[in-house]
């Protein structure tokens, strides 16, 4: 058993950290949050040049075939800086779907564009009932001519407002099927919602949108399997982002507590504050080592859906606890837009629901344990 990273991994982590710290400090993050696009196109191009996009993709399409662990390291560092970009939608969710479900032509076409930073993608899976389980997807894809027609509303679609292409999950007579849809296609309306994370959460309304057979991703009825497989990896990547957020929130709060004097004492010397801080640290450490193991299991190809669910279930609780205590220890100032701790408080709540909330995941664990 070995908890150490390779020197390549250390270098990767360092370069991501330095880039984000320099190019996108918290003040800039808040500015980006307030824009309609909700991301910084210039930084997106720079990230592509730094080769972050292709890290997990096959070499034959221009990627590096690094393990998921390396992708997770990037997500961790993004989490620390509360960074906002379509990386999770484009590279993690849609990229993996295309990698695992696409035909040669689709992979070549799409992955190479993603890697070059020339394609932004969004995944439209959720519907009105907000079920995380893809078997409840209802939106019909009806055969029309040589292709299909899509009708219905998709909700909670990250980055649809800036996407070039959207992967839409809909139901054909063979079951859930994935389609690659042009975001500008006729019949598509995209509405950005106000979310607690101030991110690009959108409604996507499809009104008689036609897609050709060639734009099907995978086979008819393969959608559930593809979504489930991608979701496992994307969940670990989301956890990585959350763990990064936890670390930053803890250190930021510890620093604040040491500098904040009340009753002629730095509040960091108060036992109540020390106990909160150690509980935050403990929660973080308990998830950190578990997350490393789960990422490793995915890379080793070991079946670990139960562990991924257990991890995400726990991570949700820990991140929200840390965000909450972080604000509490900051006191009033922690609730302001000006101070940075609220960035994490807000993200903790949004990320709790992304890729499945704790109720959903703990139920999955119980099921897997034979209950």
């Amino acid at each position: 058993m070995d908890f150490d990273f390779t020197s390549d991994q250390e270098m990767l982590r360092k370069s991501v950290a330095e880039f984000l710290k320099k190019e996108c400090p918290y003040e800039r993050v808040k500015e980006i949050e307030d824009t309609e696009e909700g991301y910084d196109p210039k930084l997106w191009k720079k990230m592509a040049r730094l080769e972050w996009m292709g890290i997990y993709f096959p070499e034959e399409y221009g990627g590096f075939e690094d393990p998921l662990m390396n992708l997770c390291l990037i997500m961790e560092e993004m989490g620390k800086m509360a960074y906002v970009s379509p990386y999770f939608s484009t590279v993690v969710q849609c990229g993996i779907l295309v990698m695992e479900g696409g035909n040669k032509k689709q992979k070549k076409d799409i992955l190479s564009k993603i890697i070059k930073g020339k394609l932004i993608m969004a995944l439209a899976r959720y519907e009105e009932d907000a079920s995380h389980d893809p078997s409840f997807i209802q939106m019909p894809a009806t055969v029309s001519g040589d292709g299909y027609t899509l009708n219905g509303t998709k909700l909670f679609v990250g980055d649809a407002n800036i996407a070039d292409k959207i992967i839409v999950a809909a139901r054909t007579d063979k079951g859930v099927t994935l389609f690659l849809v042009d975001a500008k296609a006729e019949g598509i309306t995209i509405k950005k919602r106000k979310s607690i994370a101030k991110d690009n959460t959108c409604d996507v309304i499809l009104n008689n949108v036609t897609v050709s057979k060639d734009d099907m991703l995978g086979k008819p009825g393969q959608g559930e399997a593809l979504l489930n497989s991608m979701t496992q990896k994307a969940t670990v990547a989301k956890v990585a982002e959350m763990i990064g957020g936890c670390e930053a929130a803890i250190l930021m709060t510890a620093e604040y507590a040491k500098g904040r004097v009340q009753y002629k004492t730095p509040i960091a010397a108060f036992q109540a504050i020390q106990h909160f801080m150690s509980d935050m640290k403990l929660g973080y450490d308990s998830c950190l080592n578990f997350y490393y193991k789960v990422a490793w299991m995915v890379d080793e190809g070991v079946e670990c859906s139960k562990d991924i669910s257990a991890l995400k279930g726990r991570m949700n609780e820990v991140y929200n606890f840390i965000g909450d205590r972080g604000v509490q220890i900051h006191g009033g100032i922690g609730t302001t837009r000006e101070f940075n701790i609220a960035l994490f408080f807000r993200r903790a709540k949004a990320f709790e629901f992304m890729m499945g909330d704790s109720d959903y995941h703990y139920e999955k664990v119980a099921e897997a344990l034979g209950m």
Binding site: Y126, E128, D129, A130, S131, H132, D133, S135, F136, L155, F156, K191, R193, K194, S195, I196, A197, T201, D203, V261, Q262, Y263, K264, I267, F270, A272, I273, N320, D324, V327, Q328, G331, G332, G334, T335, T336, R337, E338, A342, F345, R346, K349, A350, E352, F353, M354, D357, S358, D359, Y360
Partner: protein, 409 residues
């Protein structure tokens, strides 16, 4: 032991409930999204409605219920006040300036001289004036007594210099009651005094302090050579700490947390009974059912605690009331956080959306975001817990933070 409402109390309850039920119907849309400080102070239309309601309530005498009759009040019993407060808080109808009517006016009744009562009370009773409180400073939060804003005597006037922070509604206010250091050689809770201050006085600058979601409720207030007349000193010179401690404790039963909580619980029940997720009706989930049972128990327990605070205050035992009031504050604020958090969990992905059709079912994520302020404002819960432990019957050894004797009257 008797928990019955008298016939008269029952009638009052119905009267107030009817009044607010009708009144809130005319409120602008923002009040249907949670309401609260944000609706009242951050939004122009919301504040206009608050002012309009204040005048209507003023005409009906609802802003001065507990005042003595000779000062224009109704000499209302504590039960009358609690019934009024509960009905108002359940409806979430604005109009009652919790700072002016809820805190400053009761202080005036105790500490002000006749001239001040005559000048300051009527506009409050009529709902014509909005107040803010000048307490916290950047380096004086939980440790309020370490504040540095100073007033120096100059003939008939005092000259104030310093900075206040967390000033709720300062940008909407006509007046502030401000706690300042009048004895430059003092430290801690001695040498402080309270003044009544017109916000139009030259030298006052109000700057917004944006909340994490971007709303504007709080402010920083900078005071540079601000002149206030000596006759606007409330209470004796140097008695500011006593006045402030008493002010803090007026109607701090925490009833509002439980009234609000009950409404949220009802919204959750309605939602889970009609919503399927991952193939199952949410109301069939035993974990959700159990949590609702727990929440109901907490609400009933909290409501009775709040009534207990009110009754103890009415009995005049302000020390005992202060202890239970602190408990009620801690319990109520943490319970509120919990219930809003649970509501977002029930909503699932909808729990991160702040607006729009999709969330009309339950739009609690705004309240969820306001909630962290509750466990900080008005004395952080960490300090409150210490205070509870210092008072009877626990009587744990205390640091010098606060002298419970100051609460006796």
């Amino acid at each position: 032991m008797d928990f019955k409402l008298t016939k008269e109390e029952q009638e009052l309850k119905e009267y107030y409930e009817d009044f607010f039920r009708e009144a809130i119907k005319k409120a602008p849309a923002i009040f249907s999204h949670g309401g609260g400080f944000e609706a009242i102070y951050s939004d122009d239309e919301g504040f206009a409605f608050h002012q309009k309601m204040a005048k209507i309530m003023g005409e009906k005498g609802m802003l001065s219920l507990p005042w003595p009759k000779e000062l224009g009040g109704a000499d209302a019993s504590i039960m009358h006040q609690l019934i009024f407060n509960e009905a108002r808080e359940v409806s979430r109808c604005p109009g009652f300036d919790f700072i002016g009517c809820g805190m400053f006016a009761p202080s005036l009744l105790v500490f002000a001289n006749d001239d001040q009562k005559a000048r300051l009370l009527p506009p409050i009773a009529k709902g014509e004036v909005q107040y803010c409180q000048g307490w916290s400073e950047p380096d004086a939060g939980s440790d309020l007594a370490s504040l540095q804003t100073a007033a120096v005597r100059d003939g008939d006037e005092w000259i104030i210099n310093g900075q206040k922070v967390w000033t709720t509604a300062a940008h909407r206010s006509d007046c502030m009651f401000i706690l300042v250091r009048t004895d430059p050689n003092s430290s801690g809770s001695r040498g402080l005094s309270v003044f009544h201050l017109d916000m139009k006085t030259p030298g006052i600058e109000v700057r917004p302090l944006y909340y994490m979601n971007g709303s504007h409720v709080y402010n920083e207030v900078f005071l540079k050579d601000v002149r206030v007349l000596h006759k606007d000193l409330i209470g004796d010179e140097g008695s500011g700490w006593q006045v402030t401690m008493a002010t803090m404790n007026f109607e701090r039963s925490g009833m509002g947390f439980f009234s609000t909580g009950r409404k949220v619980m009802e919204r959750i029940i309605q939602y889970v009974k009609t919503t399927k997720r991952n193939g199952k009706l949410l109301s069939e989930n035993a974990a959700i059912r159990k949590e609702i049972g727990k929440i109901y128990a907490g609400l009933e327990a909290g409501t009775m605690m709040a009534f207990r605070v009110g009754c103890t205050q009415a009995s005049g035992d302000m020390m005992a009331a202060a202890s239970v009031a602190s408990e009620s504050k801690v319990f109520g604020t943490e319970f509120s956080k919990h219930i809003f958090d649970f509501a977002t969990k029930v909503l699932g992905l909808y729990g991160m959306i702040e607006e729009g059709d999709a969330t009309s079912l339950l739009n609690v994520v705004e309240e969820y975001q306001s909630a962290p302020g509750l466990t900080i404002a008005g004395g952080s819960n960490e300090v409150q817990r210490c205070i509870i432990s210092w008072m009877a019957p626990l009587n744990m050894p205390r640091w010098k933070l606060m002298d419970p004797a100051a609460l006796k009257r």
